[in-house]
């Protein structure tokens, strides 16, 4: 179905892919792995003619992508679900977004209705049909993107890390759904950092140094520090449970929050959340997609005012940039200075800190984040994504916040960068109170003293790790897992 013959692709004379020869048959399930920036996304874009090789040829069903006359037919056959869910919404509502692709294919109206119903149901998001995409969580948006592409019923779906923001339950369900589609004859090309996703792949290829080579998925699973989901590796964490000691100061959360209150579109994001975060602790906040994790993060960081209730930090209000700091998802997007040094001192310059104090804080933050001083005069845009994430963390640490909220700090990172970021956070844990928000339950269990679970805006559980593990086991038993 897809043939790549001696494909070369360069960016600014730097080889991204070289001498790629690959044939992918109809109905195959292929896995693609590789570090951040290794060329996986370039590979995906070459498949349906979004990028053209500078040398060599890509053919889909015998038609070369270099001939613009073929592109529409090729894109009917191969659809891509991209990584960034924010940049793929073409419609304002979920329904409109799905309709867009189907109108392009001139699918009759009754068939459009049938497919919308079918694919929303398959992905368990029927309730989102009339919702505004811009108001959905990252994970919900990813499911909508997937539904829009699946509804076009292409011969082959290329998934470029499209499920990185899903909680473990939705993640498993999507993998199962893709497996079902593959059995029904759809080719699947899955690009991922998580070797656990590759179990149904007949072949797995690794991209490294511009070269693509077949690899054994079994070895990847064995050596990578990955894996998420309830019921995975609980025993190892039991022994570290209950290490936290009670402290008198900390964060007291007693809030409810509604988006667009007083309108017909009012959405309850958080309902009666009562939570105490002890000073000096690491508290993990987990929950499914759209459960209110990021909303709670913004409220704790003092960037939003709750519609009801209040949040206090050491008895006072949260003051962003002073007593509390937050690291948003993909914080490297917020860089704007020419050097890492300037990026690090950006906040400090606005705090009337002396030059000597600024240097001392910068040294502290760099060492806490595990960064070498040699990168200080480099452009933050020329660093690897893992280093960029650490620079963003260090720029927060330099303002000496007593409380730090980390919202999915390892999202979209490969396993090597992820480990580096997690190691740095462990190092920071001794000097600040950390609220760690993630859907990677294994990371949360690894790092946190206490865990809070959000479910559809409600606080379903709060307690120590051992209590959490018992709670999860109890739920599995009662649900007959």
């Amino acid at each position: 179905m897809i043939e790549l013959e001696d494909v070369h692709f360069y960016r600014q004379k730097k080889p991204i892919l070289e001498r790629v020869d690959l044939r992918i048959g109809k109905g195959e399930c292929i896995g693609i792995v590789g570090a951040n920036g290794s060329g996986k996304t370039t590979f995906a874009r070459l498949l349906n003619g979004l990028l053209l090789p500078q040398k060599g040829v890509v053919r889909v069903n015998g038609k070369p992508t270099s001939d613009s006359e073929n592109l529409l037919a090729i894109r009917r056959s191969i659809s891509i679900v991209f990584q960034n869910p924010d940049a793929q919404a073409i419609g304002e509502t979920v329904e409109e977004d799905i309709v867009f692709g189907l109108e392009n294919l001139r699918v009759p109206k009754p068939e459009i209705d049938r497919r919308i119903d079918k694919y929303l149901k398959i992905l368990r998001i029927t309730g989102l049909r009339d919702r505004n995409i811009s108001l959905l969580s990252g994970g919900q948006k990813q499911l909508v993107n997937l539904a829009a592409v699946m509804a076009m019923e292409p011969e082959c779906i290329v998934l470029d890390e499209p499920i990185s923001m899903l909680d473990s339950c939705s993640h498993k369900h999507v993998i199962k759904t893709l497996s079902g589609l593959n059995r029904a004859g759809t080719s699947i090309i899955l690009i991922t950092h998580d070797p656990g996703d590759l179990v149904d792949c007949s072949r797995v290829f690794a991209i490294s140094g511009g070269k693509i080579s077949q690899t054994d998925p079994g070895t990847l699973v064995a050596c990578e520090d990955v894996g998420s989901g309830f019921g995975y590796g609980f025993a190892g964490f039991l022994e570290v449970a209950g290490q936290s000691e009670p402290r008198s100061r900390g964060i007291k959360v007693n809030v409810s929050h509604v988006y667009e209150p007083g309108t017909g579109w009012a959405t309850a994001a958080l309902t009666h959340i009562n939570l105490t975060i002890e000073k000096g602790s690491v508290t993990g906040i987990v929950g499914g997609i759209g459960s209110g994790k990021s909303t709670l993060a913004s409220l704790i960081a003092g960037l939003d005012t709750p519609t009801a209730g209040s949040i206090s930090i050491d008895g006072g209000p949260p003051e962003p940039g002073k007593n509390v700091a937050i690291l948003f998802q993909q914080p490297e997007d917020f860089f704007f200075e020419k050097t890492v040094r300037k990026e690090m001192t950006f906040g400090l310059k606005r705090m009337d800190v002396s030059e000597g104090e600024m240097q001392s804080r910068m040294r502290f933050a760099m060492s806490q984040a595990g960064l070498y001083r040699t990168i200080l005069d480099r452009s933050p845009f020329h660093l690897s994504i893992g280093e960029q994430r650490l620079v963003a963390l260090a720029s927060i640490l330099a303002i000496y916040p007593e409380y730090i909220v980390l919202d999915e700090p390892t999202a979209s990172l490969d396993s090597k960068s992820r480990k580096r970021v997690l190691d740095s956070i462990r190092g920071v844990a001794g000097s600040a109170t950390i609220i760690y928000i993630s859907h990677h339950i294994r990371d949360v269990l690894d790092i946190s003293d206490r865990i809070a679970v959000l479910q559809r805006g409600n606080l379903a559980f709060t307690g120590t790790k051992s209590q959490y593990l018992k709670w999860v086991s109890g739920r599995h038993e009662s649900e007959g897992w």
Partner: protein, 235 residues
């Protein structure tokens, strides 16, 4: 927060988008021609329409805040002319009303519906008309994300000590916003192509025939507009 279309079932939401577009253009002409009593009547219509559409008037008014600088500029431009303060205030009211009526249209009409209505009226321009209609639709889909990005960047920079003052403050929000917007525009173009966008596409899923209600409203608007134009005509 009011960033765009919200699906609803009010009688404004369920009107044909072509009727709503004509009504908004007609109202715009009335806003331009009306004197103080007419502007008073049109202003009074805003809370009524907002209530019917289920929009909070306060959130509607908030939409005017980013326009404050233009209001000031309009006022200053009118100051040197005779009766400058009065004329300036009238010009600001007209500008504000245009924004508010357009906001009600955008809030109650989805980008697909608006695309369909624009393509319908731009049919004489052939393919170019369809292109313009689609560009408007894509811009409408892009805007809420852009506003949200600006908000997120502002919050992220605040969290690391940003204070909105001076050139550094400006670049701290604008540079990441521009970079993010250009990248998103590229990604959106890829998503459009990947979902088989082509210039001969038709917008048919939301198509429907004009109902009696639509014709009555179009007739009523045309009648009022003719009356206003008649009163404004010299002699």
């Amino acid at each position: 927060m009011l960033t765009g279309y919200r699906k609803g079932h009010s009688c404004i939401h369920t009107l044909d988008p072509r009727t709503k577009l004509l009504a908004t253009v007609g109202t715009g002409i009335m806003v331009y021609l009306a004197g103080p009593p007419g502007l008073g009547l049109l202003s009074a219509a805003i809370p009524v329409l907002a209530h019917i559409a289920g929009i909070q008037v306060a959130s509607l008014i908030k939409r005017l805040r980013p326009m404050l600088i233009f209001f000031v500029a309009i006022f200053i431009v009118h100051l040197p002319v005779e009766g400058g303060i009065y004329v300036g205030i009238l010009a600001i009211v007209r500008f504000a009303l245009l924004i508010l009526f357009a906001t009600i249209l955008i809030h109650t009409t989805s980008p697909s519906e608006l695309n369909m209505a624009l393509a319908y009226f731009l049919r004489p321009l052939g393919r170019h008309g369809a292109d313009v209609a689609f560009m408007v639709r894509v811009a409408m889909a892009f805007m809420p994300g852009l506003l949200r990005d600006k908000e997120t960047i502002l919050r992220a920079q605040t969290a690391r000590g940003y204070k909105p003052n001076g050139l550094t403050g400006f670049t701290a929000t604008m540079m990441p916003l521009l970079r993010r917007s250009f990248r998103k525009a590229d990604e959106l173009a890829d998503a459009l192509e990947s979902r088989c966008y082509h210039r001969n596409r038709e917008c048919y899923y939301y198509n429907r025939a004009l109902t009696g209600r639509d014709w009555i409203l179009i007739g009523a608007f045309a009648g009022v507009l003719v009356l206003v134009l008649y009163h404004q005509s010299p002699g």
